[in-house]
Amino acid sequence: MSDDAKGKKTFRQDQPVHPSLHFEISSSQAVCHFTGDWNISTGGDLESVNQTWHSFFDQELAVNQIKLKVHNQVNWDSRLVAFISSKKKVLLKNGIEVDGDFPEKLNKLIDLRSDHVESTKDSSVSRVSGSFLDWWEPFCHRFSSPLNFLGAWIISLLMLPLLKTQMRIRDLITECRQCGAAALPIVTLISFLTGLTMAFVGSVQLEKFNAKIYIADLVCLAMVREMGALMVGIIMAGRTGASFAAEIGSMKLNEELDSLRTFGLSPMEFLVLPRTLALLIMTPMLTIYADIVGMLGGLTVGTQIMDFSVSHYIEQTQASISGMWEVFSGLLKSLAFGLIIGLVGCFKGLHTGNSSVSLGRSVTSTVVTAVTMIVVTDAVFEIIFSALELR
């Protein structure tokens, strides 16, 4: 027989009895008898028990001495210990003498409880009266801390050409690999499919006008001007921005940021600068790559479904780009997106609270904030471009 089965044998087979108690009174001495099964596994609530308890003390105001009696056949675990010790504390506070008639083991466990250190959190806290400051300070902080962060970032960026920086080139290279090369597979997949989908959607419309070859123009211009940068931005926000926030945030939880500071290393120069610079370098590069892969997606549809020859499609694509400005405008956007993602991720990481809950919140809010800002910035760019008649 296994140990498990042997152990089970010793457990009682009959149904557990709900915990209960009753009082016996003689002159000024009261006795409280505990009966039933006082086990955590018995379950149920202690409402009726508490009711009996309280109604007894409400009625018998004269009682100044009570004996708590637990019979030997009562089953108990820490549930009973917790009950008795909390009641005992209240009774003692009210000046009622408590006398226990417990099995030896139970007695020892009750004595173990120590309440001599009470939390003094509320009593000695000096609060600023009035709720205005409570509201105003965090409100100001919300606006001032991103600005402080941005200012510090710009200063450390300006220090860079003076070579007065703590940033290590090694870190910059590692970060570039992490957020650039390592992102190639996903960027390939997404931008290829984006180009492909646009070609499919466009071809249906263009067919109506008998202008199917303009599919090359459509895919090329959309990728170069808009979709390349946007898709890379969104991928980077979810991939790299979130990882920046998580990395820096968990370093904060771990006191690693504090230990950097004690060695005179500024987290701004040591952690934030290599990460943001890596993104600034890699996002435009990935965007160029995404543009090309997206056009390949269009080419696949154009040649395989619509039966254009490869050279015809490529010629049409070349003709569609009127100047390098088309490409640069997309790269300009991607530069802005990279900056947004890097700064948001690092800022949220540095401003993580002291718990893993707030770490999760920082990561989520990094992705949400970055994606929102990317889409808004994209729109602003387009508005500016059209206002300046650059489109």
């Binding site: 250190v117 609060r127 004690t262 290393l265």
Partner: protein
């Protein structure tokens, strides 16, 4: 001030709080150069908080902290940074940089603050690791070593730049008795031979009596310092029941 030796750090009327939650009030004491000051007190009484304020990570609500008779809170920021760089710190949780190996952790401060060659820096790092009995674990990442080993690696990193003052937050928690004794010996050696000053938070009675020249005892209820002096002489000072309980391990 009438002192046998000059005070290297002096803390005056320090009040510390997190937001509106007061942790410590009106704490004053001095640390003599080349001595070992032990900070004692029950769990949660603000020892780590006091240490953090002394190394400039937490600005106090009130009070002064001076190092070599210069007020750390009012000197210029760059000068303050220079003063603080003479400190070495072990955090309660070790706080090793998790993206670097143990050896890189110890070498990074040397890389950033000295102009030694890479090979020499590595040699120094290995030497510091051997001081805390961690030889052979140079290429492990912090996540791959045990809690006690992380503590020791943290100690090695704190000593990386041969600081003038070393702050240890519970260095011997999580260490076996042998390593704990070795650490006490190390502290005593550095103290006598290199005149390093120590500020150590510890609960371990054996090591308190071994290393302490001076001590402060913090009380979580009164939120301040209730006793100071050499722990051996505090043993005879019987007015404070809590301190006696602490020092004699009674409840």
């Amino acid at each position: 001030m009438i002192n046998k030796k000059e005070a290297i750090i002096s803390v005056e009327n320090l009040c510390l709080s997190y937001g509106s939650y007061k942790v410590l009030e009106k704490v004053s004491f001095e640390v003599e150069k080349g001595s070992c000051m032990v900070v004692m007190g029950g769990s949660g009484c603000g020892k780590s908080t006091l240490l953090k304020s002394m190394i400039g990570l937490l600005d106090p609500k009130e009070g002064r902290i001076s190092y070599k008779s210069q007020d750390l809170l009012s000197v210029k920021k760059s000068h303050r940074q220079k003063l603080l760089s003479e400190f070495g710190v072990l955090f309660q949780g070790g706080a090793l940089w998790s993206s670097m190996t143990v050896l890189e952790n110890i070498c990074l401060p040397l890389e950033c603050h000295t102009s030694l060659s890479t090979a020499e820096i590595e040699d120094m790092g290995r030497y510091k690791m051997s001081l805390v009995g961690l030889s052979g674990f140079e290429d492990f990442y912090p996540a791959q070593i045990s809690g006690g080993m992380r503590k020791r690696a943290g100690i090695a990193r704190a000593m990386a730049l041969d600081p003038e003052v070393l702050f240890f937050d519970e260095p011997s928690s999580g260490l076996d008795p042998v390593n704990s004794k070795r650490l006490d010996d190390l502290i005593n050696e550095l103290k006598t031979n290199l005149e390093v000053t120590f500020v150590v938070v510890t609960h371990e009675l054996a090591s308190i009596f071994e290393i302490a020249d001076d001590s402060v005892f913090l009380d979580p209820q009164k939120k301040t310092l209730v006793a100071k002096g050499d722990p051996k002489s505090l043993l005879n000072q019987t007015e404070n029941q809590q301190l006696q309980d602490f020092l004699r391990r009674q409840t």
